[in-house]
């Protein structure tokens, strides 16, 4: 007896197994980032001035420390990568493997681009002596964006696998491969969505 509904849809639930699985995983991820966002709210509400004093200078708005233009660029990059991710799945649905490769490659490149901008941001902070230990604003900034960046790395690894060695499954088990790309896409959209919340929370308000 094989495990049912690994590829086909169970009629009364309308999903195949991995789809339910990834939605549950994303629910847990929402709670994880939710916990950190809650920490942000708690820490910010506890002080009269935010970001507050760092290295002897009193900051009253996040824009004085972090770069909104760079973060806006990163937002555009991630949204674009979500679009290319959907296009890669759609290409497979339209039986176009070459197009899939193109769009998946673009997704991975954009993800790397995000990380490059991030590295630039972090590097500039460290150069000015702004380390996580200096203040709670910097602490939560590095923790939230750092955990998010780790999730971007995770996405690169997964997408990279499906771009490269994992793409063999297109030949051996086509339907299952398409489903896997759909699942990877859901995860990637979630990573994008976290950033959509991160950006205004840390940088804008």
């Amino acid at each position: 007896m094989q495990i049912p509904y690994t590829t086909t849809i169970r009629p009364d639930t309308g999903v195949y197994n991995a789809k339910l699985g990834v939605w549950l995983f994303l629910a847990s991820e929402i709670m994880l980032f939710g916990g950190l966002f809650s920490a942000y709210v708690f820490l910010r509400m506890g002080v009269p001035v935010w970001p507050g004093e760092i290295n002897g200078h009193l900051y009253t708005s996040a824009a004085e420390i972090v770069s909104i233009p760079l973060a806006t660029l990163n937002t555009m990059i991630l949204i674009a990568s979500s679009v290319t991710m959907v296009m890669s799945w759609a290409s497979l649905m339209m039986d176009n493997f070459a197009r899939y490769r193109l769009y998946m490659g673009a997704t991975i490149l954009l993800a790397f681009g995000f990380l490059v901008v991030k590295a630039f941001e972090y590097g500039s902070k460290f150069d000015h002596g702004y380390f996580p230990a200096e203040s709670n604003f910097l602490g939560i900034y590095f923790t939230l964006t750092g955990l998010h960046a780790l999730h971007v790395v995770g996405g690169i690894i997964v997408n990279g696998y499906f771009f490269g060695p994992g793409a063999k499954m297109w030949k051996t088990d086509r339907a299952r491969f398409i489903n896997r790309i759909e699942i990877a896409g859901l995860y990637w959209h979630f990573v994008d969505l976290v950033w959509i919340f991160l950006f205004p929370t840390i940088y804008l308000i």
């Binding site: 590829t7 309308g14 549950l24 939710g34 920490a39 708690f42 820490l43 230990a133 200096e134 923790t143």
Partner: protein, 597 residues
């Protein structure tokens, strides 16, 4: 977004290919030992792995507290015979140092909860029984299942290893409150890392259980025909998936505080050993408490729900009648799961949150007692008019009922803010939660072991040893935990290295310490018949024929089990009726299996 039709498939799919299944069947005969038994993806093997590992950790955690109980009974006295084994850093001259006592306390709690009970209740029983009870060939994600077990294993190794680092294991309680936990020694960092592994294990497991129950039920098995045990595992899985991540977030923040020097949980101007700490400050110890208890409260329902599930199965089977109030029990379980997310700050009544917030959590806590009472009452009422068979599992299931009753009732003064004020952090709390977990959950888990042992091994455990085990456990558990209520009401605080001896208020109740310690050691002795029975019966137990308990649920339709890697059932079962068709009016047979049309 609905799924669209998939493009034409080039080969046969595993869902429909009988010949493919045959090939897979053939391939399994060649599996090497390490793939069949060590890195197995079969839910039964993984369930047994969880079971053995968890039982070891329960034993280890019990040993930790038996050590502690020497210090509590005879504070400052050298421990005879084995005291010298612990070395000068822990017990110089055989006398326990306070630092070591604190390690034992923190790790006893951590190990029992996260490495013992949950892996046994969910990882072992859940993994083994749930796919069988729903008529599935395995869990939805077998490789994820294997990863869950090994993540748990690694977490356990990290926790055990923490005893051997400089200054020993975590000693800020299983609750790891900052500021203390933030500035503690290396063992605390290992606690945090171990927790990250354990949380990962639980998350992967939770996702697996929910998907399995939703997607892999056999034809005809609607949700309201599920055995109650499966319902409890389903709700438990939701609690694990949704409640654990905030603790993971908190662990990340505490690791940042400890390793990177942030001040998420450290207030400004904190003085340690006479010196002001050189930190940014501005953090909040309360933040940790909120994040921690957001998990830790649902966690206690993770501890109790599978146990209630097991008791329900055993009671229905041994009263030869359906469970009374199955539907209310199901709705109560769902409501309990939901409510469990909004009661957490009843652990924080004396932190100065303010009366409005305290009122909110007090009210939700009172409300959450209702579904617990519904479930317990339904289990009691299920006995009425039953034809009771006092089998060994039934003894433990029956013992569970009043014990959980005591545990639950003693929680009420803790859930009400005004009465919690004198009781918080006293032995009353320890008595309360141990009653629900020890004579509560653990006895239910024993019931489960005696009940499903024949399914896993094809043999029954010995009944005489089982009875000795039952009575010893019941009596001595009460001996350990009942006096704690008395001590707590007198005001004796928890986590005191000398058991409260130094305080005048404990004068009238301090003598119970010796009584409780002796009960604890006798409780250990009472487990010996169980340990012997458990291992001996693998080879020497009475071999069983088909369905030894004459049960109705699907796991008993193929006993003994098919060999490993030969699937769970000879043919895919279909379900035609509810889970407890015992003594059905108008039917001559005493019971009808779910798969009988």
């Amino acid at each position: 977004m609905a799924d669209h039709a998939h493009p034409p498939q080039t080969g046969t799919t595993p869902d429909t290919d009988v010949h493919g299944a045959h090939d897979a069947h053939g391939a399994h005969h060649d599996e090497p030992f390490w793939r069949k038994y060590i890195f197995s993806t079969d839910h039964k093997v993984i369930g047994l792995q969880y079971g053995f590992t968890a039982l070891f950790f329960l034993f280890f955690g019990f040993c930790l507290v038996m050590l502690m109980r020497w210090q509590l009974a005879y504070p400052g006295q050298p421990l005879p015979l084995i005291g010298g084994l612990f070395g000068d850093m822990r017990m110089p001259g055989g006398v326990m140092l306070p630092e070591f006592y604190n390690q034992l306390g923190a790790m006893h709690g951590t190990i029992m909860v996260f490495l013992g009970i949950v892996p046994l209740a969910v990882g072992a029983f859940g993994n083994y029984v749930v796919p069988l009870q729903i008529g599935a060939p395995d869990m939805a994600f077998p490789k994820l299942n294997m990863a869950s077990y090994w993540a748990y294993f690694v977490g356990g190794v990290v926790m055990l290893a923490s005893f051997f680092v400089p200054a020993g294991a975590a000693k800020a309680g299983w609750t790891s409150y900052p500021p203390l936990a933030d500035i503690e020694t290396m063992g605390q960092t290992m606690w945090l890392l171990g927790m990250v592994f354990l949380i990962t294990s639980s998350l992967l497991g939770g996702v697996n259980f929910i998907t399995t129950v939703v997607q892999l039920r056999a034809p005809g098995l609607s949700m309201m025909r599920l055995p109650f045990f499966v319902w409890t595992q389903l709700v438990t899985a939701f609690l694990l998936v949704l409640a654990f991540p905030p603790l993971e977030a908190a662990a990340v923040l505490q690791l940042m505080d400890r390793l990177v020097g942030t001040s998420f949980f450290l207030p400004s101007g904190l003085v340690v050993s006479g010196e002001v700490l050189d930190i940014a400050g501005g953090g909040s110890p309360l933040l940790w408490q909120h994040l921690f208890w957001f998990l830790a409260h649902p966690e206690v329902y993770v501890l109790i729900l599978p146990a209630m599930g097991i008791v329900a199965e055993v009671i229905a089977n041994n009263t030869r009648k359906p469970l009374w109030g199955y539907k209310p029990m199901v709705y109560a379980t769902l409501f309990l799961g939901f409510m469990s997310f909004i009661v957490w700050a009843h652990h924080m009544f004396i932190t100065g949150m303010g009366t409005t917030i305290s009122s909110f959590f007090q009210i939700t806590t009172m409300i959450i007692s209702i579904p617990s009472v519904v479930i317990l009452s339904a289990l009691f009422i299920s006995l009425w008019g039953g034809s009771i068979r006092f089998t060994t599992p039934m003894l433990f299931a029956l013992g569970f009922l009043p014990m959980f009753g005591i545990g639950g009732l003693t929680g009420l003064p803790l859930g009400l803010a005004p009465t919690d004020i004198p009781l918080h952090d006293t032995y009353y709390v320890i008595g309360h939660f141990h009653y629900v977990v020890a004579p509560g959950t653990i006895m239910a888990l024993f019931a489960g072991i005696y009940y499903w042992y024949p399914k896993a091994t094809g043999r029954k455990m010995n009944d005489v040893l089982g009875r000795i085990h039952f009575w010893g456990t019941l009596i001595f558990m009460n001996g350990v935990f009942l006096p704690m209520f008395i001590q707590g009401l007198a005001g004796v605080s928890r986590r005191l290295y000398d058991g409260g001896e130094i305080y005048a208020l404990s004068e009238g109740v301090i003598q119970y310490n010796q009584f409780m310690s002796i009960s604890a050691w006798l409780l250990a002795v009472a487990q010996i018949p169980f340990i012997i029975n458990f291992f001996m019966s693998i080879k020497k137990g009475k071999k069983i024929e088909e369905n030894p308990w004459k049960a109705t649920t699907l796991e008993w339709t193929t006993t003994p089990s098919p060999p490993i890697a030969h699937g769970n059932f000879v043919t895919q079962p279909s379900v035609y009726r509810g889970p407890y068709e015992y003594s059905t009016p108008g039917v001559a047979k005493g019971f009808t299996g779910q798969n009988e049309s």
